[in-house]
Each structure stands twice: as C-alpha cells, then as structure tokens.
C-alpha cells in the first residue's frame, strides 16, 4: 500500500470514528426488529411445525404448501408487499410482518425436523401412561421438540439479523440505513464504513448466539439435543 | 546378510508420540508363509507396530525391511502395494460397491484396465465367498461380509505380506467364524500374515509364532503350544489366562 492510500485511509477512519454514534444508532432498531420478527415467527411457526407433523391430512398439507410458498419468496418481495402493497405502517410494523412471516415458515421447518427427530417410543410411552394424543403432543413431544430447536433457531437468528438490513429499503433506520446515509458525505470512506458495520453485525451475531447457547444449556436435556 | 533371508525384519524399532515411548526396541523376523500373531493389552502398541510396517505412521528409531529392502528407502506407495492391511472397523470405501472397493487399487494404483480390475475383483470376492454380493454397497453388508470385502480388497494387490489389526473385534460373535475361516484358508494357501488378534483358537491352530507385547516392549514370543503350556513370564501367563477366561479356552467358534 502506498503512503497516500494509507493517509487517505486514516482520514476515512477518522470520519468513521466521528460518525460512530450515528452508525450505532441503528443497532437498537435492528435488534428490536430481529426480536419482534423472531418472536412472531416463533409464535406462528411452532404451531405450524406441529401441525405439519401431527395435523390432519388436509391441514398438514396446507401448512406444508404455505411454507414452500413463503420460503420460495425473496424477503425483499415480502417486505414490499407488506409495506407498499398492503400499506402496513410504520416501517417497523411492515418489516416485522415480513420478517415474521418468513421466519415463521423457516421456524416451522426447523421445529418439524426437531419433532421428527424424537424417538417414536416417546409418543408410545406417553400414550401408554394414558395421555390423549393431544396431551402427548403437548406435554411430551413439544417440550422435547423445543429443546432440540435451539441450534436451528441460532441459525435463524443470524439470518433474520442480517436481513433486517433489507428494511433500509422501506426507510427503517437500522444499521445499514445509517451506514448508507453516511456514504455521500465521504464516499472514499465506504470500505471503512462497511468494515465497521460488519464488526457491529458480527458482534451482534456473537452476543446473540452466546445468549442462545445459555438458553440451550439452561433448558436442553442432557444428550437430548443431539439430533443428527 | 542374514536379514535378506527373511521376508520381514524388524530391528530395534522405536516409536513415540510426543514424550510417550509407544514402541521400545522391538525385534523380530518373519519368513515367507509365516503367520505371526501379536497379542497384548490395550494400548500396548500393537496397532502402532502394524502401522509402522506399512508406514501409516512414521517411526524414529530402528529399521524395518521387507524382502531385504529398508522400508524407509522404498517409495511409500510402492511399500503399501506390497503390504495389504485389514482394519478393525473395515474402512470400506462407503461410496463404492463391494466390487468397486476391491477394484480401486488394481485400477488406480496398479493402473490396470477397468475390465481387468473388475475381473480381478470378482475373483477375490469369489475367494472370500462373496461373489453374489459384488454389487452391494458397504451399508448393505453385514459386519462379517464387510470384513471379507476388506480382505479381498487387500488381496487384490497381490501383497507379499498381510497385516490384520483385530479384524474380528468389531463383529458379533456369530460373524467372527466366517472371517477367521477366510484367514485360515489364506494361511493354508501360504500367505504371510501378521495378525493382531485375541482369538486364541485361531492363534493356537494357525499361528507359527505368537508374540506378547506390553507397554511397547516384546515380553516374549514362541510357538503357540509352548506359549500356552509354558509361558516364561508371569505377565504373559496372566494375560493368557485372562484371555482364556474371556474367550472360553482354545476352541474356536
């Protein structure tokens, strides 16, 4: 690298440093959106996943097909439908709806996998002690499924966190939106801004996964999480 | 040069992992058609000794020669061509059928044509009694069948020497016999074999010599009858007694 390039980079880093506050202002909106979308996805996705495994033929079929349709649609398209098409507002609500619907489809899939990985004998044992099918699902299968759910959920967390950046397109002021708006005043600082934003995303990913590890430790069954 | 008379000569073999000396001054020889059985407690270095012979592990001290040639001076792939190996956990190539497993060496190492390699593979499978399973994949075979494919795979390279590392210890009792049967036939046909096995019935009847290894040292060796009836070292006696208790004497399944 030449000295000129280095000194330029220094100026750009100074610019990033001066505007770090602006960039970090995007963190809370991103975290909040990730949280609401994951929560919505969880509340809708888990029952859907159970429906796919234990539901009647028709409802399981419907849940499966809806899942395929949603998982096959780009998040950008879904978000434009909720914001511009359906007119949900403010942007936070539209983004939560879009990311939530999509996350529900993925979480249903993860939860279905978790349920299917549980030994068949568990269901039989539950019925054998006299639980009804619904009771067995509620008290035996779903609790175990949830405990095997965490690793897949970690993956989902990372995806949703990164995809909050797409909400910049509907003017939701998350991290990427802030970064993008810092570019015009000093275009040469784009790589530095990018690296900084990357560091923020990485930090959020790490912290989030640590928290989920903790959740896994707290609720996981010894050896019960190993779903190969 | 007496070493040239032997098929395999191991002299003062030293091998360590980090600070731990795993083989400490091993000396022995094997002649053509010998069946050398190697016994010893877990961790005594049996597998390591075998793996030194075909250089799957490198050793620091001593020499090993095959047919008078220092194995360290040989091309490692050439050495492995001449020495077949059968593993405890089979290690069949999971993506290849039984026939393809056996044909891989002749085809890719010996450079035979596809047809030749195939014919050879079928012959070897026939020899271990598996001609009718040639197109099955490893996942579709029983443990005993897998191990016989493993033997056929080694045989297809026309080895001068075969190494067996506990070939039956991963098998259910009722499957052990079929593998030992194949090994016995091999011995009868004059194959030179170095076997780690605790099947004492097999050792007693087939071995030309049994070596007892402990803590990386050769405690003693001798022909089976002598070793069983008159062990010189107390450790050998104790070990043999425990083995016999476990495996129910010298009779073979």
């Amino acid at each position: 690298m030449t000295a000129a390039a280095l000194s330029l980079a220094t100026a750009d880093w100074t610019y990033v440093w001066q505007n770090l506050g602006t960039l970090l202002r995007g963190v809370w909106p991103a975290v909040r959106l990730t949280g609401t979308a994951l929560l919505a996805g969880f509340l809708v996705g888990v029952p859907l996943g159970a429906l796919e495994v234990y539901g009647g033929r028709r409802s399981a079929w419907l849940a499966r097909k809806a899942g395929v349709a949603v998982r096959g649609t780009p998040i950008l398209v879904i978000m434009f439908i909720t914001y511009f098409g359906l007119g949900l507002s403010p942007a936070f609500v539209a983004a939560t709806a879009a990311l939530g619907v999509r996350s529900a489809a993925y979480q249903a899939q993860v939860f279905r996998g978790a349920l299917q990985s549980i030994d068949r004998g568990q269901m039989e044992a539950a019925r054998a002690v006299g639980l009804s099918k619904l009771g067995a699902i509620r008290h035996v299968m779903i609790p175990q499924g949830l405990r095997r759910f965490v690793p897949g959920f970690q993956n989902e967390y990372t995806i949703v966190l990164k995809d909050t950046s797409i909400a910049f397109a509907i003017s939701y002021t998350e991290i990427f939106y802030q970064m993008y708006n810092l570019i015009p005043q000093q275009t040469t600082a784009t790589p530095e801004l990018f690296v900084t934003a990357a560091a923020v995303y990485l930090a959020l990913t790490l912290v989030g996964n640590r928290v989920l590890d903790y959740v896994d430790d707290a609720f996981g069954v010894p050896d019960g999480g190993a779903s190969q | 040069m007496s070493r040239n008379d032997h098929l395999l000569t191991v002299e003062d073999l030293q091998k360590s992992y980090g600070d731990e000396l795993v083989l400490d001054g091993i000396d022995f020889t094997m002649d053509a058609q010998d069946v050398q059985v190697l016994i010893g407690p877990s961790g005594s270095g049996k597998s390591t000794l075998l793996r030194c012979v075909n250089r799957l592990t490198e050793f620091e001290g001593g020499t090993i020669s095959l047919d008078g040639e220092d194995v360290m001076a040989m091309d490692v792939n050439e050495l492995r061509r001449q020495v077949g190996m059968v593993f405890q956990d089979f290690n069949l190539f999971a993506h290849l059928s039984a026939r393809e497993n056996v044909a891989l060496g002749p085809r890719r190492v010996l450079g035979k044509s596809k047809a030749e390699a195939n014919d050879r593979a079928l012959d070897e499978l026939e020899r271990v009694g598996l001609a009718d399973q040639a197109d099955s994949y490893p996942a579709e075979l029983s443990g005993g069948q897998k191990q016989r494919v493993g033997i056929a795979r080694a045989l297809a390279m026309d080895p001068k020497l075969m190494l067996f590392d506990e070939p039956t210890s991963a098998l259910d009792p009722e499957l052990i016999g079929e593998v030992l049967g194949v090994m016995r036939e091999l011995a009868d046909e004059g194959m030179t074999m170095l076997c780690v096995t605790h099947e004492m019935g097999f050792a007693r009847q087939v071995a030309t010599d049994i070596m007892f290894l402990e803590d990386g040292r050769l405690v003693e060796h001798g022909d089976p009858e002598r070793l069983f009836t008159d062990p010189r070292h107390e450790r050998t006696e104790q070990f043999l007694r425990r083995l016999t208790e476990l495996h129910g004497g010298g009779s073979e399944s």
């Binding site: 780009p74 998040i75 359906l86 990164k162 784009t190 934003a197 | 190492v109």
Partner: protein
C-alpha cells in the same frame, strides 16, 4: 384403503404439479426464444392474449369483489376471489416483461453459483490445510458470512468506483448480449458471497467423511491426492448436495437485491410495473410467483441429481443457511 387413497392423492398432486410446471416452463422458454430472436412471434414483452382479456378479467374481479360487501366474512372471501380473478388478467399483461427479466435472474444465479464453487474449493482447502492462508480464508469467510449481502453489493457498487469504471471500459460490456456493468458487479458480489458459504459447506462435508476412509485409501497404495480424489471427494460431494440446493435457492431469492444496484432482474421489473400501474401488490405477488417457480424448479432438479447419484450409506447431511 386410506393408504390407497393417500397414494392417489399424491399421484394427483404430482401430476398437477408436473402439468402446471411444464406449462409454465414451456411458456418461459417460448418467451425467451421469442425475445432472443427479436420478437419473431410477438413483441418481446408483448402479451399473447389481447388487452381486452385483461380488462375483462379485471372488471369481473371487481364485480366479484363487490359481492357481499358489508357482510364481514363473506366480503373478505369475495374480495380474495375477485382479487385472484383480476390477478389472472394482470399476469397475462405483465407476465411477459417479468419472463424476460427472469432470464437475467437465471443467468445471475447460475453463473454466480458455479464461479462461487470454483472460488470456494481453494478457499475451503486453505481453511482446512493452509498455514497462513488458513487465517486469511477464515477472516474472509467469516467477514462475508457475518454481513448482509445487500451491504456487500453496495460496497462494490458505490464504494469501489474504480471497479465500475474498470468494467465499463472493458470492450463489449453492455453491448449485444454482454450485460451492462451493474450486472457484472452483481455477479462479482454474488460470487464473493456465495464462495464464502460454499467454502464452509465443502469444509463441512469433507470433514464429515470418516478419516478412516483416507487411511484405507493410503493403505491400498494410493497417494494422498489420489485418496482425496477417488475416495474422499466422491463422498464429500454427495454430502454437499443438500447445501448446494440451499445455496442455489438462496441466490435465486437474494438476487432480488440486485435491484438496488439497477440490475433489471425480476423484482426491478416488478417494481417499475408497480409504480406504473399503482397495482403494487399485484406486481409484487406476480414477481413472487416467478421466484417461486425458479426456486421450486431448482429444488426439484437438485433432488433429481441427488437421487441419481445416491448410494446407500453415503447419506445426505443437511446443512445450509
């Protein structure tokens, strides 16, 4: 009895899927050919059915939508039916434009996945076997996987003006069938992104092959490279298929982000149709349909490949993003 019925249902569903899918693909191929040949049959983006058909369905849709107004549930039901009918007309008018754009999406994703694979193999090798390169590969992979794709595209497009300039000056860019500079930047972005993910998939699948396999290969006399080539890779590549399916699906969907850097792919086209007609929902839903067709086709094709090369015992390890 119920098993019999279930099988019949499954057959029916499969038949219907094939019929609809086949028809859509016939139509797509027709549109592409027609557009490459400069519109020999109809104009490249001109619909096959007349405008009057669209107008008719739209007014029928509007009529249906008005039925039951005021009655809570019934009204919503008819609204939906009316919308669906109107959607048919809308699709017949604007489908052709999206079909032409879909070709670009296909090109973007296929090229990016393949070139991404070519970059990913040495990257994965460096990650597993390298000394210094190991850390370089690690940082690259984690930096890329840890940041949003949209940010990466922006960095390349707005943050590296020399790149745009360089590409624009390559002779032929933007002329004839050679796509314009933005498309190249999108491809570079997707390749960078995809290579990081694919490198991780390859690493994972190589590591899922039992080390004993390589030992056995060495014991037969193969050298290390031979062992990797004839024994480890054939198994690892099979393990990797599900992740490749995921990767392909991912790229098809996320290629929509190229819209932000002016690449005229499906969603860019849909967005401009939306602002032209103010029928945003229709335009976006139609775009979603196109992506869905591509995604479903890709998954189906990959499952065929997987079945084709399947070997008992060399199982599919499910991985992906």
């Amino acid at each position: 009895m119920s098993a019999e019925r279930e099988r019949r249902h499954a057959d029916l569903e499969r038949g219907l899927t094939y019929a609809i899918g086949g028809a859509i693909w016939l139509w797509l191929c027709f549109r592409w050919l027609n557009s490459w040949l400069g519109g020999v049959v109809v104009g490249p983006t001109e619909p096959l059915v007349p405008q009057s058909f669209a107008t008719a369905t739209e007014s029928l849709g509007a009529t249906l939508g008005a039925v039951g107004d005021g009655v809570p549930l019934v009204a919503t039901g008819f609204d939906l039916v009316g919308w669906a009918v109107g959607m048919v007309g809308f699709a017949s008018q604007y489908g052709p434009q999206l079909a032409v754009a879909a070709w670009l999406t296909v090109v973007l994703t296929v090229i990016s996945t393949l070139v991404g694979l070519v970059v990913a193999v040495p990257l994965a090798a460096a990650r597993v076997y390298g000394r210094v390169t190991k850390y370089v590969a690690f940082v690259y992979i984690e930096l890329i996987r840890g940041t949003p794709l949209v940010a990466q595209l922006f960095l390349l497009y707005y943050g590296a003006p020399f790149l745009s300039k360089f590409i624009r000056e390559v002779p032929g860019v933007g002329q004839g069938i050679v796509p314009a500079q933005a498309v190249w930047i999108a491809i570079i972005g997707f390749v960078i992104n995809s290579s990081a993910y694919q490198a991780e998939y390859i690493r994972g699948s190589v590591e899922s092959v039992d080390p004993g396999q390589l030992t056995a290969a060495r014991a037969v006399g193969l050298d290390k490279l031979g062992g990797i080539r004839y024994v480890v890779l054939p198994q690892a590549l099979r393990y990797a298929i599900p992740s490749w399916t995921n990767e392909l699906v991912y790229l098809i969907k996320y290629s929509s982000l190229a819209m932000f850097i002016t690449v005229p792919e499906i969603f860019t086209q849909a967005d401009s149709i939306g602002s032209e007609t103010f029928a945003y929902t229709n335009a976006y839903v139609l775009a979603a349909g196109f992506y869905l067709v591509l995604v479903v086709t890709a998954s189906y094709g990959m499952s065929k490949v997987e079945a084709e090369v399947a070997i008992p015992g060399v199982g599919s390890s499910d991985a992906g993003r």
